[in-house]
């Protein structure tokens, strides 16, 4: 399995390291790699890894000032001063500002300057400035079976589950350690035995037959809340689109710590229930029907009728398909003067949507594009928002804290309707 040698004493005594890795730990490739590999080996030891594994790519979550803060700037500055460069393809998560429109979003100038500083530091390390939580759609597209060093919980759960690549939920900065060394410790979801489904969710035929688009994030939220960090298996769904899988996973990774799910007949490691569970019997079986879905939606954002300050769609970042859908719903309409409708996406989708005329329609309706960031990553205190409506399970989970608002969870159509009406009208 491994051609390395067993180290004796101290650092890495419980792991096999190759000669190259030992050389890195001895400082042969400079201080940033030495420091980075040291963190990764210690992590591996704590988590029972026997060796390191080379990765195809990395994705960094502490690219936003909101997450990185001054501590991050200190860390990045130190690494850049020591000549740090990424060794594998590495992309950046959303930042804390829309680089083109931060003034429109009332971002304090000093705050924006700190984000620009982070951008410059990441640039110096060779990071691709994607500023998106969906890097897997462009620029950083993993293949089935690839080992990766990714963070951003919604992206991790997507590439593991929908693509069949292999990454643990790396933490901020540990993702950079992976990028700098091109390696991660081999434990958790890098190993086939840990990818088997453990908890079975069975949809009732009635629910499966009437499974609305916004039930995907709702089901994800329910699943995450139920399983924590275990691997759920969902049976009974007739199908799912790319964006529905994205929404499901993001919700499950927010309300719980789901890093991998299987949907039988839909995701690549679950062509059958038996394959999804690796031949084992699931530890638990949970039946989900209309009542359970209604219950979780109530929990995600029950609210009485009333005015709405802000509507958030495009979490995770909207695809071109979603932009088309938003444009169709907004065509010829006007967002209410007391309400903000913000559409979060990345610069690639923005450009394509512009070429296709969707941006013009969306902006003519009075909605704003929020590019390379989102409601959760931006400082929005100056707006004084009290009530947010969203179609995202991840927003529903985080915005009560990040934006300090009440939250209403609704379908995409209902979100846009609320933006136009300036209020929620629950049927």
């Amino acid at each position: 399995m491994c051609c390395g040698r067993r180290m004796t004493g101290g650092m890495g005594e419980n792991m096999y390291l190759t000669d190259e890795e030992q050389g890195v730990l001895d400082g042969q490739r400079g201080e940033p790699q030495r420091l980075a590999l040291r963190v990764l080996v210690k992590l591996g030891e704590a988590c029972g890894a026997e060796r390191m594994v080379e990765i195809a790519s990395a994705h960094l979550v502490a690219s936003s000032y909101q997450i990185a803060g001054e501590a991050g700037i200190e860390i990045y500055s130190q690494l850049v001063a020591q000549g740090a460069r990424v060794r594998v393809r590495t992309t950046s998560d959303p930042g804390s500002i829309d680089f083109a429109r931060w003034r429109e979003f009332k971002t304090p100038e000093q705050y924006a300057a700190r984000q620009v500083k982070i951008a410059a530091l990441l640039d110096q390390m060779g990071v691709i400035p994607t500023w998106t939580c969906t890097p897997y759609t462009t620029f950083n597209v993993p293949r089935f079976g690839d080992h990766l060093g990714w963070s951003e919980s919604s992206a991790v759960v997507f590439v593991n589950s929908v693509i069949g690549a292999r990454t643990n939920r790396l933490a901020a900065y540990v993702d950079l350690c992976a990028a700098l060394t091109g390696r991660v410790p081999c434990f958790g979801l890098h190993l086939s035995e840990n990818r088997r489904g453990e908890i079975l969710f069975e949809l009732t035929p009635d629910l499966a037959a009437n499974f609305a688009d916004h039930y995907f994030p709702a089901l994800g939220y329910l699943v995450g809340q139920t399983v924590g960090d275990k691997v759920p298996v969902i049976v009974g769904l007739p199908g799912a689109t790319f964006d529905q899988l994205k929404a499901f996973g993001a919700a499950s990774a927010a309300s719980g710590s789901v890093a991998l799910y299987h949907m039988v007949g839909i995701t690549p490691e679950a062509r059958s229930l038996e394959e999804a569970c690796g031949g084992r019997v699931p530890a638990e079986r949970i039946v989900v029907g209309q009542r359970e879905i209604a219950g979780i939606m109530e929990q995600m954002g029950a609210a009485a009728d009333g005015p709405v300050d802000v509507v958030g769609i495009g979490c995770p970042h909207a695809s071109i398909d979603q932009m088309r859908r938003y444009a169709a719903l907004l065509d010829g309409k006007q967002v209410h003067s007391d309400t903000q409708l913000w559409v979060c996406t990345n610069v690639v989708v923005e450009e394509m949507a512009r070429k296709m005329g969707y941006v013009a329609i969306i902006e003519r309706a009075g909605a704003k594009l929020m590019v390379g960031t989102c409601h959760n990553d931006c400082p929005l205190g100056a707006w004084g928002f009290r009530r947010l409506v969203t179609d995202s399970g991840k927003f529903a989970y985080y915005t009560p804290t990040t934006v300090g608002t009440q939250c209403v969870f609704a379908s995409t159509e209902a979100c846009i309707q609320a933006a136009i009406a300036g209020k929620v009208e629950r049927s």
Binding site: L35, R38, V39, K42, L43, A46, C47, V61, A62, S64, Q66, I67, A68, G69, E70, A71, G72, E74, I75, Q78, S151, E152, S153, V156, N168, R169, L170, A171, A172, Y173, V174, D175, G188, G228, D229, A254, G256, S257, Y398, P400, T401, T402
Partner: protein, 156 residues
């Protein structure tokens, strides 16, 4: 040195020594959007410790959850001197262990982490009690409450 009332054997996840007060929660915790790194106070409105400071304490909670941005907030708190100084979990997920490894690598601060205590042992941990933790060996010593220089016995 005060004598322990009770010694528990946990699993050492991150090296370091701690002696001081515990803050105990029975709920999972997410640092990102859960902790104010400027003060060390819990800000998650859904959490049972909301409004309580964990700065400099041994923070006891079942397991971590939530965002991969966790070390962003954690290290900001470390930089500000507002992080917990030790952690005891039922199960330490890699995310929490990563926080301690990064604090040591980039800020030279050792935050011992131990896990794997069984349920009765977890229940012996009480907010306000003093505790001594060795993150390398996993040894946890409950020292009880300190009242006016004497050792108060905590009723079980």
């Amino acid at each position: 040195m005060s004598q322990p009332q009770r010694v528990l054997q946990a699993r050492g996840c991150a090296a370091g020594q701690f002696e001081g007060e515990m803050v105990v929660s029975r709920q999972p915790f997410g640092f990102w959007q859960g902790l104010d790194p400027e003060t060390g106070v819990v800000i998650d409105k859904r959490h049972d410790l909301c409004g309580v400071s964990i700065k400099g304490k041994a923070f006891v909670f079942p397991y971590g959850r939530g965002s991969t941005g966790t070390p962003g907030i954690f290290l900001e708190a470390v930089r500000n001197g507002c992080a917990p100084s030790a952690i005891i979990n039922v199960k330490s997920e890699p995310m929490i262990i990563m926080c301690a490894l990064l604090a040591e690598a980039f800020f030279k601060v050792a935050i011992p982490i131990v896990d794997g205590l069984d349920v009765p042992a977890q229940e012996a941990l009480r907010t306000g009690d003093r505790v001594r933790i060795d993150g390398a060996t996993g040894r946890v010593e409950i020292l009880g409450r300190e009242l006016a220089g004497s050792q108060a016995v905590v009723k079980e």
